[in-house]
């Protein structure tokens, strides 16, 4: 609202803008730099077909990309070290003064991961119900049974719309496969 805006020069910052010491921010930039190094090293392993000496081989562009990533990431590290911190994104539902809720982030990642197993074993509708209900509850939905019901409804609706009607091969799963409309 009327709180001061984040000062890029490291002045007073709202609580949500991260810890005072930019460890996470530095770590992310360093990882990007390492990715750049990885791309350069990986480019060395690309086989250059014989007889293409005068033409641009398959290694050049990767070298270029790796160098760009490395140089830009190093520039970011330098910028952070000299106090030019990044400004977190704003958004309609983002509270600029909130502390980072790592628990919610980790839970959402775990919930999303469940699809990796569930889609193939119990089918699309139930996998989606789990993702929806899990995410809604993580984000603070008040009544768990509404989340579960809406999730199931969403799973069945998408299965019908995309699987049956539009013909995408979403697996209905062993629990629903016996219903003619779902096994297409």
């Amino acid at each position: 609202m009327t709180t001061e805006t984040p000062d890029p020069a490291g002045g007073p910052r709202p609580a949500g803008a991260g810890p005072r010491r930019p460890i996470g921010e530095l770590a992310f930039a360093v990882v990007c730099a390492l990715l750049g190094v990885g791309v350069i090293v990986g480019a060395g392993a690309i086989r250059v077909p014989p007889g293409s000496a005068s033409v641009l081989g398959p290694r050049v562009f990767p070298y270029f990309v790796g160098a760009l990533l490395l140089a830009a990431a190093v520039a970011v590290v330098v910028a952070i070290a000299t106090g030019h911190r990044g400004q977190p994104d704003e958004g309609e539902d983002v509270d600029p003064n909130a502390k980072t809720d790592w628990r919610a982030v980790v839970l959402l990642v775990v919930v999303f991961c469940s699809q990796l197993v569930l889609i193939e074993f119990v089918g699309w509708p139930i996998a989606i119900a789990v993702v929806f209900a899990g995410a809604a509850l993580t984000l603070g939905a008040k009544r768990w049974w509404i989340a579960v019901l809406v999730g199931l409804g969403l799973g069945l609706a998408t299965q019908l719309l995309f699987g049956t009607w539009l013909g995408l091969s979403l697996p209905a799963g062993p629990l629903l496969d016996w219903i003619p409309i779902f096994n297409g």
Partner: protein
Amino acid sequence: MDSLAALLEGFATALQPQYLLYALFGVFVGTAVGVLPGIGPAMTVALLLPLTYSLDPTGALILFAGIYYGGMYGGSTTSILLNTPGESASIVTALEGNRMAKAGRGAAALATAAIGSFVAGTIATVLLTFLAPGIAKLAVQLGPADYFALMVVAFLTVGALLGSSVPRGLVSLGLGLMLGLVGTEVLSGQQRYTFGVPSLADGIDVVLIAVGLFALGETLYVASRLRHGAVQLIPVTRGWRSWMTRSDWRRSWKPWLRGTAIGFPIGTIPAGGADVATFLSYASERKLAKGRAREQFGRGAIEGVAGPEAANNAAAAGVLVPLLTLGLPTTATAAIIISAFQSYGIRPGPLLFENQSGLVWALIASLYIGNVLLLVLNLPLVGMWVKVLRIPRPYLYAGILAFAGLGAYALHFNVFDTLTLLVVGVAGFLMRRYGYPVAPMVVGGILGPMAEEQLRKAMAISQGDLLYLVHSPFAIIAYTTMAVIVLGGIWLKRRRARLEAAPKLVPTSAIQAIDEATK
């Protein structure tokens, strides 16, 4: 005229009941999803992509055009009606629109936004109709070196102009280029950076990058700092009479036209998309306002809604010019549209107007139709969009997550894509948190492989002579323009940063900053 006849034929296709229905559905769904808070046009397009997977190319592109325009429009409703103080400076429409709504003139703000979008969208589509075939004809003569020049321009302008700092934009671009490297290399047929994983041999689909960054990354980011408590909406008075008074019309039509004139050219050049256009339009309306209107700026001046909204939509149509004629995506949304084209084996570019002319003109005709549909649909349906805005946030973001999962899985029906999506999503979360713009990554992901192909073609022609890259006048002009755009853009960004980082973010001082900048 040639293109006129072709356009009429396009209308004949697009007006078939079945395609008309697709257009209506696209506009409706696009607006409904675009209205949802936290969902911008790029995310709307990415999330709704699975809808088009099983349609024929014409139907899919018509549906897509509707979603694109609808998503563009939906966003402005959100910023006018949603009461989220503190970040209004990031969306220019909200500066005045939100204030108008608070003063009980929300209906007028929505109406001028809708009609302005229609006017600007239509004029811009007319310009597109007459410019695109000519540009395509010129573009046929461009060689690989020229294309490479264009792509470098797009890379650097998108990378340098978006977001808060140049190095961060370039890191984002680099990450996208890196993902673009993965896959089978065209000329020698060997796999690069696939680590022996068969699913990676085809490369990483740009849809995964876009959905991962926009849907998953955004959801994770919002989840980490969710605004709790009830959703605060500004009520809108009902009834036709309160929409626009005679004086509202008189004050709106010039900003509409000026916004169009600013938005369309900026949309056609890779200069960071609609953001720059809306900001420029706002600044110029503020400068041109006289008398009572000038006093109203900062307290809900209708010009400040009409101009930027028109600029926004004109830029959206402008983006389609390089997209259709050169195959060059200049925004994240355009990158997703290109990948949709590619999934049908259609390659946007100068030959598109010759090889697929039926399809292109049906698409352009559907843009006209979509604009009309938006207008008739949106004015009466405002009440419904308001209800959509009230969806409790836990369910909203849970739904986004579910649809992101659908988008990833429906690509190849393989959970490996879901895993890739998750990795990109986590990266997107960190990028948002640490102030990296995500759009350059999407553009890099799709443009990287294209640029490499053109570069290597050029080098093959010249037998490795690097000077060949700047041998043509076109390439030289492109690189010079790039320097101008980047320098001008950085200057503009400084100006804007001053506006957004004004000492206290009470809107009046933000307005003052614009005022000073425009003097």
